[in-house]
Amino acid sequence: MNRSTVIDAHNVSKVYNPDTIPVYAVNNVHLHLERGEFTALVGPSGSGKTTLLNLIGGLDRPDSGEIIINGVDITKLSDNQLIDFRLHNIGFVFQSFNLIPVLTAKENVEMIMHLQRLSKGDRDTRVGQLFDEIQLSDKLNSRPSELSGGQQQRVAVARALASKPQFVLADEPTANLDTKSAFNLLDIMLKLNQEENITFLFSTHDQRVIERARRVITLVDGKIASDTAPVNVATTT
C-alpha cells in the first residue's frame, strides 16, 4: 500500500466564547493521518469530535495551529479557495439529511461532478461504478424519501467519493441507523477502504463501529487522550 501523509495537523485549537467563559472545544491537537487509514474519532459528548472534524474539513477555522492537507495549509486559504479545496479534496458524510430531497439518488451523486465540471460520459461511468460499490444500482432513480436511512447514508458515501477526494470525513454516519443498516454501511466503507485504498476519518459513539476501526483516537475535553488500535481488531469480511 502506498503510504503517504494526507492530514498533518499541529497545535490545533478552537476556543468558543474566549471573552466570557472560554470553552476549549479543541485544545492543542496534533493529528497525523496516512493514506488508506480507517480511523475512528471517539469520546464523550462535547469532547470536541465534531469541532475537530469541521476544522480538518475546512468548514471552520482554528484559533491557532496549522492543518496541512496534501501539502496545503488550509488555514491560509480564503473562504472561496476553501470551498474549491473541499470540493476537490474532501468527501463529507453527515449524520443525516445528506441528500437534496428533490433530486434522485443518481442526481445527488452527479451534482458533485457537475460542480467539478465533468463531462456527461465521465459522470455516467463514475455513477455506475459508485452505485455498484454501494450496492444500490437498482435505486439510481429513487428520491431520498423513497430510500431507507441506511440507503440514504450509502448514497451519501457515494457522493462523498464522487469527487475522488483525498479522504472522507464522516461525523457520526451511523448514529441514526439501526444495527443492520449500520453494519451494512460500515461493510461498504471498509470494503472501499481495503479495495480502493480510500481514507476514512469518522467520529462515532457506536461501540460496534469502534470495534471495526483500525485506529481509534479518543478525545476528552478537546485533547487527544489516547491514540491506539482497538484491543480486539475485528476480522473484516
Binding site: 471552520d60 470551498i83 439529511f97
Partner: protein, 405 residues
C-alpha cells in the same frame, strides 16, 4: 443548465409556499393592471369629454376677458396671430369665436341666449360640434342660419325651419338685431349650455354685433393632453401679455380637482398594493430560507460556490415571479376589456359632478397595452428586488452554524 433544473424542482418541493407566492404576485399584477387601466381610462375619458365639451383644451382671449366677458374685450382675428398660435407644438386646430349675450324672441316668449359665432368647420374639428347635431343640418359659413340647443329651442317653442329674433347690444354700444332661420338642433349634456346656446357663423355674428374682424376667443385642439401645461406656457411666451391663455383645468377648476383626487387615491392604493405583495413574497422567502438553511449549509460544505447558490435561489424566485406575472398579465387582459365594454358606473358626489358637466358618469378602462406590460414589469421588479434577501443570506452563510441543529 443543471442549476436551473434544480431550481425548477425546488419550486415543487413545497407547493403551498410556491402557490402563496405566485398567488400574491398574480393578484398584484391583475389588481394593479385593472387599477391603472381604470384611472388612466377615467383620465382619457375625461379629456375626451372636455375636448368635445364646449371649452376645448386651451382658450386664448384678450387679457382680462375671462373676468369681464364683454365685447369691449375682443381681439383682432388676424392671420399672423393664428400663425403664431399654430406654431406652438401640440396645437393642431383652432376655432375663432365671437361670443356674446343677446335676447332671443319667438312669438311672445323671450330668453337670454349665449350667441356663439364660429367657423363651422374649425369648430367641428376643435370641439366636435357636428356630432352634437340631433336634427336638421349643420352650420354653413355662407348662410345666415343658426343652430339652437335643444333646451333653448324647447323654451322658445322653436323647431327646425322656424325663425328666431335676436336683440342685443353690439360693439361700442351699437344696436344688434337680426332675424335668423333655425337650420338644426344640437344637444349638450350640461343643462347650463343646453338651455341657452345658439351657434351661427362667425361672419354673421360679427355682422350682428358690428364687430367686423373681431373675436373674443380662440378655442384650441391639442394632439396630446399630457402636454397641456407645457403648450399653454409656451403660448404665453409666444403671445404678448395682451392675451390670456387658459387651459381647461383653469376654466373648470373643480373638474380638475376631482380628477386629481381620483388619480391621487388610485396611486396611494397602488402603493399599498405593492407593499402588500412585497410583504407576501418576503414572508414566503423568509420561511424558505429558514427551512433550507441546513441544506444550503451542506451544499456549501461539500463544495458548492456561493455564486452558484445565488444563481439557484434567484432563478427560483425569477421562475415563480415571472410565471405568475405572465399569468396575471394574461388574465388581466380579458378583465380590462370587459370593464372597457361594461364600464363601472359612478355614484354619489362624483356622479353629480360628472353630470353637471353633461359627462356620462362612467369609468371605462383604458386598454392600452402599456398597462399590462408595465404593471407586470413593476411587480416582477419587486419580486426580483426581494430576492436580494436570499442572496444576502447566502453571502453570509456559514456551513457550521447553518448545519447545527
Amino acid at each position: 443548465m443543471w442549476l436551473v433544473r434544480l431550481a425548477w424542482l425546488n419550486l415543487w418541493r413545497n407547493k403551498n409556499r410556491t402557490l402563496i407566492s405566485m398567488a400574491a404576485v398574480f393578484f398584484a399584477v391583475v389588481l394593479s393592471t385593472v387599477l391603472t387601466a381604470l384611472s388612466d381610462g377615467a383620465f382619457d375619458n375625461m379629456v375626451k369629454n372636455v375636448v368635445s365639451y364646449y371649452t376645448g383644451y386651451i382658450q386664448i382671449h384678450r387679457q382680462g376677458y375671462w373676468d369681464d366677458q364683454t365685447l369691449e374685450n375682443t381681439i383682432l382675428n388676424t392671420q399672423p396671430l393664428q400663425d403664431s398660435i399654430y406654431s406652438a407644438p401640440g396645437v393642431i386646430e383652432l376655432a375663432p369665436r365671437l361670443e356674446s349675450f343677446s335676447l332671443a324672441a319667438s312669438g311672445d316668449v323671450t330668453r337670454g341666449v349665449l350667441v356663439v359665432g364660429t367657423d363651422p368647420e374649425k369648430e367641428n374639428l376643435a370641439t366636435g360640434l357636428k356630432s352634437k347635431l340631433t336634427q336638421g343640418k349643420y352650420l354653413d359659413s355662407q348662410s345666415n342660419e343658426v343652430l339652437l340647443c335643444e333646451g333653448l329651442a324647447k323654451r322658445l317653442n322653436l323647431n327646425v325651419g322656424d325663425t328666431i329674433l335676436l336683440i342685443g347690444q353690439g360693439y361700442h354700444g351699437a344696436t344688434a338685431a337680426g332675424k335668423y332661420a333655425v337650420s338644426g338642433l344640437i344637444h349638450y349634456g350640461a343643462p347650463d349650455l343646453n338651455d341657452r346656446m345658439l351657434f351661427m357663423s362667425l361672419n354673421e355674428a360679427q355682422h350682428l354685433y358690428s364687430a367686423e374682424g373681431l373675436i373674443t376667443t380662440y378655442v384650441l385642439l391639442l394632439d396630446q393632453s399630457e402636454e397641456l401645461n407645457e403648450t399653454a406656457s409656451l403660448l404665453r411666451k409666444l403671445l404678448s401679455s395682451r392675451y390670456e391663455v387658459m387651459t381647461w383645468e383653469e376654466i373648470m377648476p373643480e373638474l380638475k380637482q376631482h380628477i386629481d383626487t381620483d388619480t391621487g387615491n388610485s396611486k396611494i392604493f397602488l402603493g399599498f398594493l405593492y407593499v402588500l405583495v412585497a410583504m407576501g413574497i418576503f414572508g414566503t422567502m423568509l420561511m424558505m430560507m429558514i427551512e433550507r438553511s441546513y441544506e444550503l449549509g451542506m451544499l456549501l460544505a461539500i463544495g458548492m460556490k456561493k455564486y452558484k447558490m445565488i444563481i439557484l435561489l434567484v432563478s427560483e424566485s425569477i421562475l415563480t415571479v415571472m410565471v405568475s406575472c405572465l399569468i396575471g398579465m394574461i388574465c388581466s387582459i380579458p378583465l380590462v376589456y370587459y370593464l372597457n365594454i361594461h364600464p363601472i358606473r359612478l355614484t354619489g358626489e362624483l356622479e353629480k359632478t360628472y353630470e353637471r358637466f353633461g359627462f356620462e358618469a362612467i369609468l371605462p378602462t383604458s386598454t392600452e397595452a402599456e398597462h399590462f406590460i408595465w404593471q407586470a414589469i413593476v411587480v416582477f421588479c419587486i419580486g426580483l428586488f426581494l430576492s436580494f434577501y436570499p442572496v444576502w443570506r447566502v453571502i453570509r452563510l456559514d456551513p457550521v452554524t447553518s448545519m447545527k441543529r
